[in-house]
């Protein structure tokens, strides 16, 4: 660890080195004849002594910007949206069985994704239970025969091709590996939409640094590649996902 004084000195030199051009240095030295020698020396002496204002400003600006970029920025980047109504995954799993009761593979092997209203209506032709959410579902969607505009946390950008079949059927992966324990949730968390890309925060992951503890914390390309390298020995080729 370097001594704080050394660090300050370093920053000072850095400011000098970076922002004082050769021309400025020459001007300082070259103008010595024209200027009062004493004044110039005073200035030099003051700059060299202790922690200069430049350093203080540097530290302050660094701290503000760094903390803003870390703590404030995510709040600006993402807008929070609520799902049309709350959905209790845990309840449905206990009633229906595994994930594939609703999120199934079609006959042609393609993944159905979120169930359509027609599937829900198989059980929910009429209200089941007396929750407020069930009432909204029946009144706003079932009766109006309108699909529920769910906000999909794991929706990948359109430039990505992803086959559930290859992973779940082919590689026998379980849903949790990528989607976590959403099947045990009783409420829907707010959907955080990236204001720039329009995609969910869950793709990058909750941690703005991109750190993850679990395999389902992030769904970025690097995460795909990491697993692919581990399981298949190769990160895979571009066109496998970017067709």
């Amino acid at each position: 660890m370097c001594h704080p004084a050394q660090l300050v000195c370093c920053i000072n030199n850095l400011i000098d080195g970076v922002f004082m051009s050769e021309l400025e240095e020459k001007t300082e030295k070259g103008s010595a004849d024209a200027l009062e020698l004493g004044g110039s020396e005073d200035q030099k002496a003051e700059g060299d002594s202790g922690v200069g204002t430049g350093v203080l400003f540097f530290i302050a600006a660094f701290a503000v910007c760094f903390l803003s970029g870390w703590l404030l920025f995510p709040n600006l980047l993402y807008s929070k949206k609520e799902q049309p109504f709350n959905f209790d995954h845990a309840l449905h799993v206990s009633e229906m069985g595994g994930c594939d009761s609703c999120h199934y593979f079609r006959e042609d092997g393609s993944f159905a994704g979120l169930p359509k209203l027609s599937q829900c209506v198989e059980c929910h032709a009429e209200a089941m239970g007396e929750t407020e959410d069930e009432a909204i579902f029946i009144a706003e969607y079932v009766e109006k025969e309108k699909e529920v505009p769910w906000l999909v946390y794991s929706q990948q950008p359109d430039c990505v091709f992803f086959s559930h079949s290859a992973h779940v059927v082919g590689a026998q992966m379980d849903c949790v590996s990528c989607h976590g324990h959403i099947g045990e949730s009783t409420t829907c968390k707010p959907y955080e939409e990236n204001r720039i890309t329009g995609y969910s925060r869950d793709i990058w992951g909750k941690n703005i640094w991109g750190f993850k503890k679990n395999s389902w914390d992030r769904m970025k390309m690097d995460d795909c590649a990491e697993c692919h390298e581990k399981e298949t020995g190769s990160k895979g080729a571009c066109f496998q996902c970017h067709k």
Binding site: V18, F19, G52, T53, T197, W204
Partner: protein, 717 residues
């Protein structure tokens, strides 16, 4: 603390370093890259369940089986149905882009009535009441036979309903648009005395001698022909194309024989003469013992001696001899006729001459030959109920004893006051597709009441007083009876692929509703609740398989044993050569309309199809005329020059396209351009309608339009 320059430098550097090491920079870089790869304004198709549903394409007479790829029920793509007997998985560019016709900007979105020259959107009840009253007024005035009806063809239950309505209203003036199939049937009727449908077993032939057909440019069943063409090398099939222009078919053929336009029949008869002289013909196929054959043989040997025909056609005697020998040597030769796509009738003389070739080859109803078939439509119509006005009207003379819209329009043109009081038009656009289209337009303008059942605001519909818009074919259920030159007897069921987009109706339901809105006993002849009920009842004999399998395919009934005679006497007397109208002195060149696979004739082409047309056919809004460089030199024209093309009928400004592939002295222009559909900027106002430059020439026997071109001149604008 002194705030100096270094403070600001420190502030800036600190801010930059702070931002740089915070996650914001990297996150923003990542987000920007995602954003640029997924522009939010780029439409992205919605993901969903992929399904395929089969139906049949009705854009042309090919009637290909098509599979509609749907995402969550929304049609997104059209492909050919694998294993279909007509197209075997293939599809043409029109079928492929048929969804564009669904969303066509010139689709009519609701019933319309024209009031003081302006369209007024009305409800179906209002439009039907208006049409019913207008028709009733014609009937009450004792002019029920002055109601005429024009449909594209007369196959299937929908044209059947139109014909039935015309009859019940008291008119025998029901006409269909011309096609080569009509001329083939008329030819066989004249020669053999049987009413047959003609088919060509192209897949099994080993020599196809094509007299000006657009064999791979939309003739007959386009995709079927593509398959035949693709297999030519494998199956050792030779294709010889006789045509004054190097069309795509000519370019793909093994041999291209450019004959002067309009002399194809002469060449066919010269070949007949050589075959007879050399004794290389099937005596049974032409019933050589018959007296009429001796006269025919003498005539072709004398009048169509190779030396004479060489002068007429511009083809060397040696080439004619070689063509005859190639035809004679082939095991399964087949001669085919029907200009371009075969959307026009053509001359009986030409068809009879080509038919004679097939008879001499003995290929009638033989594998790889020409098939005479009796097709059973599998329809049972209940009896009709005619009231007094209907009986009186129907007993009157028909406007034209020939089934041709040209004759009907000519009669209206010639009369000061239109003898046709009301015209019902379905699946036809005579104001654009008939020759001398401007005169036809003027004739239609004279008709006091025009009721259009079109899905699009085409040229004829623009002149209508009432529009009862139809669902387009992807929106409706209907029986589609194969109506082309394939040796197959197929009825397919067109099924709705999408809910109707607009306030349109099935044309069958429109007829039923119109009949229902009429007073008296008109509705009694239409005892069905809906068109669907009508379809099921009328098609009862085949309904089970039609509804379950979507197609009924039967072996066509051969008529070979029912042929009482083979008599080509018509070629001796009645059948006259059809010349190009106009004085040679005033019009030294000859203009021929040609078909372009990319330009549809039956409906206005889709934006996609028009975009694919060569810049030497259509550039911007300018049509091109193909001119041989030799002819262009003599006239002082260069590539791309503006020129005024004048024919005895009309004139138009076009651009010159120098083309070595056309005979000197001959001009060619593509059909299917020059639509005036302003709503559709992709099609409307593009180019010149060549049918405005060419006038019809009625065939002496069939009465159908046999014009293949017209005399013309090119001058500076």
């Amino acid at each position: 603390m002194k705030v100096d320059r270094r403070s600001f430098l420190g502030l800036g550097l600190g801010a930059a370093a702070g931002v740089a090491v915070s996650p914001a920079t990297w996150k923003l870089m990542d987000d920007s890259s995602i954003w640029t790869q997924n522009w939010p304004w780029t439409p992205v198709p919605i993901d969903g369940e992929v399904t395929f549903e089969n139906t049949v394409c009705s854009l042309c007479s090919g009637n290909c089986g098509i599979s509609i790829r749907k995402i969550d029920g929304r049609p997104v793509k059209i492909e050919g149905t694998e294993g279909h007997p007509v197209n075997g998985g293939g599809v043409c560019l029109h079928g492929l882009s048929a969804l564009q016709y669904l969303y066509d900007p010139s689709r009519i979105q609701s019933p319309l009535i024209k009031i003081d020259g302006a369209w007024k959107k009305v409800t179906w009840e209002e439009a039907l009441a208006h049409a019913a009253k207008a028709l009733a007024d014609v009937r009450k005035a004792g002019k029920s036979n002055a109601i005429a009806c024009v449909t594209g063809n007369d196959r299937g239950t929908v044209p059947g309903l139109f014909k039935r309505l015309t009859t019940v209203l008291g008119s025998n003036n029901y006409y269909t648009m011309d096609t080569m199939e009509k001329t083939w049937t008329a030819t066989v009727d004249a020669v053999n005395g049987v009413n047959a449908e003609v088919g060509f077993d192209l897949k099994n032939s080993d020599l196809i001698l094509s007299f000006g057909t657009g064999f791979i440019e939309g003739w007959g069943a386009p995709i079927y022909n593509f398959h035949v063409n693709a297999q030519r090398k494998t199956n050792a099939v030779k294709l010889i194309q006789i045509e004054p222009r190097l069309s795509n078919t000519a370019a793909a053929a093994d041999q291209w024989v450019p004959a002067k336009p309009g002399t194809e029949a002469d060449l066919a008869l010269a070949i007949c003469g050589i075959l007879i002289t050399s004794g290389r013909y099937d005596a049974q196929g032409v019933k050589a013992d018959d007296k009429s054959f001796a006269a025919f043989a003498a005539m072709v040997k004398d009048t169509y001696a190779p030396a004479k025909v060489a002068r007429t056609t511009g083809i060397d005697v040696g080439v004619i001899q070689d063509l005859a020998m190639a035809f004679a040597d082939a095991e399964k030769p087949l001669a085919i006729a029907g200009r371009g796509r075969g959307d026009t009738a053509g001359s009986m003389r030409e068809f009879a001459a080509v038919y004679a070739l097939n008879c001499l080859a003995g290929n009638i109803n033989a594998p790889g030959g020409l098939w005479l078939m009796d097709k059973d439509p599998g329809e049972v119509w209940p009896a009709i109920e005619m009231d007094g006005m209907a009986t009186d009207g129907f007993a009157r003379a028909r406007f034209s004893d020939k089934n041709t819209v040209d004759a009907l329009m000519a009669m209206v043109s010639e009369s000061e006051k239109s003898p046709v009081e009301a015209l019902l038009v379905y699946n036809a656009n005579p104001c654009h597709t008939l020759k001398n289209a401007k005169a036809v337009t003027e004739a239609v303008k004279k008709i006091p009441l025009v009721i259009s059942f079109s899905s699009y605001m085409d040229e004829t519909t623009q002149l209508a007083s009432v529009v009862l818009p139809s669902h387009m074919f992807l929106e409706r259920r209907e029986d589609v009876v194969l109506f082309n030159t394939l040796p197959l007897d197929i009825t397919a069921l067109s099924t709705p692929m999408v809910k109707p987009l607009f306030d349109t109706r099935h044309p069958g339901d429109s007829v039923l509703s119109l009949a229902g809105a009429m007073e008296g006993s008109i509705a009694a002849s239409f005892p069905w609740e809906s068109y669907d009920a009508c379809l099921e009842a009328v098609k009862a004999p085949v309904w089970e398989s039609l509804s379950q399998e979507g197609v009924v395919m039967k072996d066509p009934v051969s008529l070979i044993k029912k042929i009482p005679r083979v008599d080509f006497s018509l070629l001796l007397k009645d059948a006259v050569a059809i010349g190009a109208a106009g004085e040679e002195k005033a019009y030294p060149l000859v203009l021929i309309p040609v078909d372009n696979m990319r330009l549809s004739r039956q409906v206005a082409a889709s934006p996609f199809a028009v975009k694919t047309v060569s810049d030497r056919v259509l550039k911007g809004t300018h049509s091109f005329v193909d001119v041989n460089p030799e002819t262009a030199d003599a006239l002082g024209f260069s590539q791309g020059d503006d020129a005024l093309i004048t024919t005895p009928v009309a004139s138009a400004t076009v651009k010159v396209n120098l083309c070595d592939g056309i005979m000197p002295g001959v001009l060619a222009m593509a059909q299917g351009l020059g639509h005036t559909m302003v709503e559709n900027r992709y099609v409307g106002g593009k180019g010149v309608n060549v049918n405005e430059l060419v006038g019809p020439v009625m065939d002496a026997i069939s009465g159908l339009d046999a014009a293949w071109g017209i005399r013309a001149k090119l001058s500076r604008v």
